[in-house]
């Protein structure tokens, strides 16, 4: 298992390099000019110098190599320095945003907690709702609960978040007035009252994202449980006189969780992608919104770095899913 993990880790390096090359190539081919906003009165030779100052005069492979060095060497060093107070990275060029002229990673670190809170909590809530629904609808196959559950998950699967978001805002913020429509990221939780405010403003974005997760995972959970409930070992367990709760919740559930856990790991990056839309609807200033504003502002270093962070998440969770699968299911041997 360890050798497999190491092999997969090593294999993910060329994958990541390929992805970074694709993103970089897209940005290189793109016709957008970061100098477009500079006034026309600026003479062309000055413009050329500004271009070079941004690192745009070089050949593409030089630019690509520099970005690689900055992202994989300088930024980790900066992080190391920040952790231990050392000075390894002083004087090194970091990835600089063209919008704010400050290091990209500093902004990402500022925005990350909002996204992680909303997305992470939505995922946890979604899983916690989905698993019991999946178990019960498989156990009572074709019952009323199963039929309605399948129908509701199908709806949750089909309604896009950019429709549920505004819909919930109209119902709960406008007509009922229970919940705020905008997520206030400057809000600080100090006591019970401010915690309640934080809780209320998180309900809608979290529920919108959680609906998608719930729909997907409960379908998988139901399918996996149905596959296992007809197996011989379930009959054996019942014949031994085990209580029904033990049979279902221990024997069947443990075997059914194997595929579901990997689906949970694989779905993680997708929900970060979905967060781009949800953040836009509820005005959460997380990394999804950062990506959108950077795109509109033609801030290529920021776009490159953010897209690559999304790619890292995907590769990482694919790896986690594979390793988990091997760990949980003793029938699978990778070596």
């Amino acid at each position: 298992m360890l050798t497999f993990t190491i092999r997969r880790l090593v294999l993910s390096i060329p994958t990541l390099l390929f992805i970074s090359l694709v993103i970089f190539g897209l940005l290189q081919l793109a016709p957008g000019d970061p100098m477009a906003q500079v006034p026309l009165t600026v003479p062309p030779e000055v413009k050329q110098k500004m271009r070079e100052a941004l690192g745009l005069g070089e050949a593409w492979y030089v630019q690509y190599w520099k970005w690689l060095v900055q992202f994989f060497w300088v930024e980790p060093l900066v992080f190391f320095d920040w952790l231990f107070g050392t000075e390894f990275s002083s004087g090194m060029q970091r990835v600089i945003s063209w919008q704010t002229r400050s290091p990209v990673m500093d902004i990402v670190v500022q925005r990350m907690p909002q996204t992680l809170w909303v997305v992470g909590l939505a995922y946890v809530v979604g899983i916690l709702i989905a698993i019991p629904i999946g178990i019960y609808s498989a156990y009572r196959h074709y019952s009323l609960f199963d039929q309605t559950g399948t129908f509701i998950t199908m709806i949750g699967f089909s309604i896009p978040p950019f429709f549920t978001g505004p819909l919930l805002i109209v119902i709960f913020s406008v007509y009922l007035g229970w919940l705020p429509s905008i997520y206030d990221t400057t809000h600080v939780v100090r006591d019970w009252e401010s915690f309640k405010v934080q809780f209320f403003q998180m309900i809608m974005p979290v529920m919108v994202l959680a609906l998608q997760t719930t729909a997907q995972i409960s379908r998988y959970m139901r399918g996996a449980m149905l596959d296992n409930l007809n197996q011989d070992y379930v009959r054996t367990a019942r014949a031994k006189g085990l209580r029904e709760s033990v049979v279902v919740m221990v024997h069947v559930l443990r075997n059914s969780m194997i595929p579901v856990v990997t689906v949970i790991a694989l779905g993680m990056p997708a929900i970060f992608g979905g967060a781009i839309i949800t953040e836009n609807v509820f005005k959460v200033n997380g990394i999804g919104q950062l990506l959108l504003t950077a795109l509109f502002a033609n801030d290529l270093p920021m776009v490159m770095t953010l897209t690559f962070i999304f790619a890292i998440l995907i590769v990482l969770f694919n790896l986690v899913a594979d390793v988990l699968y091997g760990l949980l299911d003793p029938r699978i041997r990778y070596d």
Binding site: P31, F162, F163, P166, L295, A311
Partner: protein
Amino acid sequence: MTEQPIPASPIEGDMETFGALADKEPQKPPRAQWKDVWDQFRKHKGAVFGGGFLIFITLAVIFGPYIWNVDPKTLDIRNKDWRPIYILLFDADAKAGWAHPFGTDQLGRDIMAQMIAGGRVSMAVGWLAMGLALVIGTAVGVLAGYFKRMDFWLMRFTDLVLSLPVLPLVLLAVTLFRQPLRAAYGPEGGMFILIVGVIALTSWMQTARIVRGDILALKEREFILAARSIGTTPGKIILRHLLPNVISPIMVSATLGLAVAIITESALSFLGVGFPSDFPTWGKLLADAVDRMQEYPERVLLPGIAISLTVLSVNYLGDGLRDALDPRIRGR
């Protein structure tokens, strides 16, 4: 034939005892495979409704403009902000009427005509992107499955594309390549090509994987060996023998692809990177209406419901097709 040699006894009564061994005729008339599939499909109520609704909405957006003969782009500022016809049920004084059954928007454009025009674009993007993705996916899958030399590299490539972050990349491509394609094919045509292309290029991978798996298994079967032994060329084997046998997984992934394409296109329009602002699509109509949804909730609801119902019906159709095309489930 092995039952025949039983010596036929001259006495009629003995035929009864031996006759039990041989069927005089098949118990059931032979059934075509696609009739079986259709029978199983009909049992899945949701799938039948889904398929029906999909056909209905496709026909509605194709023939709608000929029946509802109003130009979606005509501004009629005196008749702006009409409410949909059903408002009259609660409020008899509301500005509504049969002239504009779904009402008009803040510039007086007829919402019914806009919905039809928007649906045209959304469905066209969906069908085309799905078709293109299927062609790419099937081609990659067949090549990787049939030709051993290409398998490794094609599948590594598929894995690599699978780990690309789709939504950020789609956003990136659409924002960055908007200008040159607009210049080449006009504002609407350029955007259409771009969106269809981008969606197709990022959604063919699942089809490729499924098709490859099926081809790998089919390739070892006797009928392929027989075809090869009489000298059939690989191209003919693929066209005549392999492709008809992988049609069912392709159909199932087609429904998934259609749903994904419609949602992606609407999401792009919603985020404001899709079609130009005066060009209606369902996502665009929804996005434009969000600012005033307090006063005119129907303008959010109508396109939102259209998108959701279409995607829901496509998903149900896919569910039903999966059941109907799986020979293990069929007949139960």
